[in-house]
C-alpha cells in the first residue's frame, strides 16, 4: 500500500506533458474553488509551476504565440503536493505527479544512454505505483493527418507502442492483489484541441471526430489495459483539455526530416480574443478526479490502520480478561502490566475514534466532490 500517492504523465517528447501539468497545477485554487478539498504544493513544486507558468505567460505577452513556449523537459521531475480536506486540518495527504522527458519512452534512447536507463528505472517504479495514468495526446497530430504519409507518421509521433508498453506494465501492477484496493484511473487527455471545440471561445465543430479518432487510435491501449487488469476495475476517462483556450491552430506542416523515417509535425497557432486571455478548459475535472483517487486510496489506508488498531485493542482486551491464576494475576496487577494494558487500550481507542472521524470527514468530502459536476467534455469510457 502506498504511503504517499502517485500519479504519472506519460507521453512522447513535445506532446505537451508539462503544459498539461502546468494547466492543472497552476490554478488549483481556482479549479478546486467550492470543492471540499485544497491542494498545497511544496516549495520546489510551487517554484517549478511558477517557472512554467511564467514561460506560458511570456508567450502570450510576446504577442506571437509559440505553441512550444515551455522549454522542454530534460530531467525527471516530481511535483509534490499535499491534499487537505476543508474542515479537518488533521487530513494531510501527500501525493506526487511524475513528469519526465518523453524521449525516455523510447527503448533505443534508454539503451544508448545510461542516464536515461538509470532514471527510467525510477520513473517506471513511480508509474507502476500510480493511482492515475494521464496520457496527453496532441490532438493536432491526430486530426491534421490527412495524406497517407502523414497518417503513417502518427503512430511514431504519438509513440503509440511505447505508451502502450508503459500502460501494460501499469495495468499489470494495478491488477496485483496488493494494489487492488487502490483506485486505478486512466485518463486519455487530448490537448491543444481549441480548434475542434465550440464551447470555449471558438467555433469548432469537430469534437465528435476527435473523440472518434482517440477511440480508434487508442483502442489497442484500452484493450491492453482491460486485458491486464482483469481482476479489477480500471476507470477510463476521456478528457479533452484546452491548456490555453485563447489560441487556435492555423496551419499544420508535415516536414520531412532526414533523421526520421517518417514525417515530422509542425503547427502554427494564432491568438483568439482581444486581448487574449488564458481560459483553461476541462482541467478542473482532472484535478477533481485526481483528488477523488487520492482520497479514495487514503481512505483504504485509513481503514487498514483502524483495523490494525482494532486488532491490537482486541489482543489487549483478551489479555486482560484471560484466566490468569493467582500467581500470574498477581504479576499482572502488581507488575504494572494492568496499567500499561489499560493505557494502551485507551490510546488504541483514541486512534480508532480519530481514524473513524477522519474517514467520515473524508467520505463527506468525496461525496461533495462527486456532486461537483464534471466538465461536459469529459466522459467515462
Amino acid at each position: 500500500m502506498n504511503p504517499s500517492f502517485k500519479a504519472a504523465v506519460v507521453g512522447p517528447s513535445r506532446v505537451g506533458k508539462t503544459t498539461l501539468l502546468t494547466a492543472i497545477l497552476a490554478e488549483t485554487e481556482r479549479l478546486l474553488a467550492g470543492s471540499p478539498v485544497a491542494i498545497t504544493p511544496d516549495e520546489k513544486t510551487a517554484n517549478r509551476v511558477r517557472a512554467n507558468r511564467r514561460q506560458l505567460r511570456g508567450a502570450l505577452e510576446a504577442g506571437e504565440f509559440n505553441a512550444a513556449a515551455l522549454k522542454g523537459t530534460q530531467e525527471k521531475s516530481e511535483y509534490t503536493l499535499m491534499l487537505q480536506s476543508a474542515g479537518d486540518d488533521t487530513i494531510d495527504i501527500p501525493f506526487s505527479i511524475l513528469d519526465f522527458p518523453g524521449g525516455w519512452l523510447d527503448p533505443a534512447v534508454r539503451e544508448s544512454s545510461s542516464r536515461a536507463a538509470t532514471d527510467w528505472a525510477r520513473c517506471e517504479a513511480h508509474i507502476r505505483e500510480s493511482v492515475m495514468l494521464l496520457v496527453p495526446i496532441d490532438s493536432a497530430v491526430l486530426m491534421e493527418a490527412v495524406t497517407p504519409p502523414q497518417r503513417r507518421a502518427v503512430p511514431d509521433l504519438l509513440a503509440f507502442e511505447d505508451v502502450e508498453a508503459v500502460a501494460r506494465k501499469w495495468a499489470m501492477t494495478r491488477n496485483m492483489e496488493e494494489y487492488r484496493d487502490e483506485p486505478a484511473v486512466l485518463v486519455l487527455a487530448p490537448i491543444k484541441c481549441e480548434k475542434y471545440f465550440g464551447d470555449n471561445g471558438g467555433h469548432g465543430r469537430d469534437a465528435d471526430r476527435l473523440k472518434q479518432k482517440v477511440r480508434e487510435k487508442y483502442g489497442t491501449l484500452l484493450e491492453i489495459v482491460a486485458a491486464e487488469a482483469q481482476d479489477r476495475d480500471v476507470r477510463v476517462l476521456y478528457a479533452p483539455i484546452d491548456t490555453y483556450g485563447c489560441v487556435e491552430l492555423m496551419e499544420a506542416h508535415w516536414p520531412a526530416n532526414p533523421v526520421l523515417d517518417h514525417l515530422d509535425f509542425e503547427a502554427h497557432y494564432r491568438f483568439r480574443g482581444n486581448p487574449p486571455r488564458i481560459a483553461v478548459k476541462a482541467a478542473a475535472t482532472i484535478m477533481q478526479e485526481l483528488c477523488r483517487c487520492v482520497m479514495s486510496g487514503w481512505d483504504t489506508v485509513q481503514k487498514q490502520e483502524i483495523d490494525e488498531y482494532q486488532g491490537a485493542y482486541q489482543q489487549l482486551l483478551a489479555r486482560k480478561v484471560e484466566a490468569k491464576g493467582f500467581r500470574r494475576a498477581l504479576t499482572f496487577y502488581l507488575g504494572g502490566e494492568a496499567r500499561r494494558n489499560r493505557l494502551a487500550r485507551a490510546a488504541n481507542q483514541a486512534q480508532i475514534a480519530a481514524g473513524e472521524r477522519r474517514r467520515l470527514q473524508l467520505q463527506e468530502a468525496v461525496e461533495k466532490l462527486a456532486t461537483t459536476p464534471y466538465d461536459r467534455r469529459v466522459e467515462e469510457w
Binding site: 517549478r48 517557472a51 505553441a67 522542454g72 533523421v259
Partner: protein, 260 residues
C-alpha cells in the same frame, strides 16, 4: 547535452556521456530547464555543469533549444574554471557561451550526431568555445562564507562569496556550490543542505534570503534521554530489591510476633 530538431531527438548527451554523474546529489535541488550552475569539488577534481545555455536553434515545433554543458577536471586550469564561473553566473556570459557553442554545433551537426553519426571531437569543440570566452579576474579577497550557506543571487557580496567558494573547491576543497531556481526560502535551502552530504554554497536566484546565511548540518543524533545511565540503573534496581527484601523480612517478623 542538447536536443535536435525532430520531436524524437529529445535532450541527450552529444559526445560521451559522463561516466560519473557527480552532480546527482544536488540534481533534485535545481531546475535543469533553467539557467543553473553546479560546481563540485571532489577528491581534488573540479567539475562544472551549466544548464540553460541558450542556442539559436529551434526544434520542429519552434521551441528554443538549449545546451547543458558538463566540464570535468578543470582544477588545474583556473583560467577555464573562472570563465565557466562567469558564464554560469551572468546572462551575458551564458549567452556568449551559447553563441560560441552554436558556431561548433549549428546547422545539422546536432541532428547528425543524434542520428548516429560518430563525432569524437565534441570535447575539443566545447574546449574551443571555452577558450574563446572572455577572461575573468580572480575574485576580491575575503572569506568564502560559513561551511554551508545560502545567499541571494542578486547581491554582489553573495556572488563574491560564491566565487571564493569555487576558488576553494578549485584548490582541492570538497563540496558543492550551485545556483537554484527551485528553492526560494531558507527552509528550502536548509532541507537541501540536509539532503547533501557535503558542504554546500547555494545562490537562490529568486528567494526570500537577503544575505549570506549559514546552514547547519545535522550533527550526530540525540543522545540518550534524561534518566540514569545503564550502570546507575543497575545499582538502583539492586538497591530497590535489597530494600524490598528488608521490608518483606520486617513484615514477616512483625506478623510472626503477632501470631506466635
Amino acid at each position: 547535452m542538447t536536443r535536435g530538431t525532430a520531436r524524437a531527438n529529445d535532450y541527450q548527451f552529444i559526445g560521451d556521456e559522463p561516466a560519473d554523474r557527480w552532480w546527482a546529489p544536488v540534481a533534485d535541488q535545481v531546475l535543469m530547464e533553467e539557467a543553473e550552475l553546479i560546481v563540485a569539488g571532489r577528491d581534488g577534481r573540479l567539475c562544472f555543469l551549466l544548464s540553460g545555455v541558450p542556442s539559436a536553434r529551434r526544434d520542429v515545433i519552434g521551441t528554443e533549444v538549449r545546451y547543458t554543458v558538463v566540464v570535468e577536471d578543470v582544477a588545474a586550469d583556473l583560467d577555464v574554471a573562472r570563465k565557466l564561473l562567469t558564464a554560469g553566473l551572468t546572462d551575458a556570459g551564458r549567452a556568449r557561451f551559447g553563441e560560441l557553442l552554436d558556431k561548433s554545433f549549428g546547422g545539422t551537426v546536432v541532428d547528425e550526431i543524434l542520428g548516429g553519426a560518430a563525432r569524437a571531437d565534441v570535447p575539443e569543440l566545447v574546449g574551443a568555445a571555452l577558450r574563446e570566452l572572455p577572461g575573468t579576474p580572480a575574485p576580491a579577497d575575503g572569506d568564502d562564507g560559513p561551511r554551508s550557506w545560502a545567499g541571494p543571487w542578486e547581491k554582489p557580496d553573495a556572488l563574491d562569496t560564491f566565487r571564493r567558494r569555487v576558488e576553494r573547491l578549485a584548490a582541492g576543497g570538497d563540496g558543492y556550490a550551485f545556483t537554484t531556481h527551485l528553492l526560494s526560502t531558507l527552509k528550502g535551502a536548509e532541507a537541501a543542505n540536509a539532503a547533501v552530504p557535503d558542504d554546500v554554497a547555494i545562490l537562490l536566484v529568486d528567494g526570500t534570503v537577503d544575505r549570506v546565511t549559514e546552514l547547519g548540518k545535522a550533527g550526530p543524533g540525540p543522545g540518550p534521554g534524561p534518566g540514569p545511565a545503564p550502570g546507575r540503573r543497575v545499582t538502583l534496581v539492586i538497591g530497590g530489591l535489597v530494600m524490598a527484601a528488608g521490608a518483606l523480612i520486617w513484615v514477616l517478623w512483625w506478623i510472626a510476633r503477632r501470631l506466635f
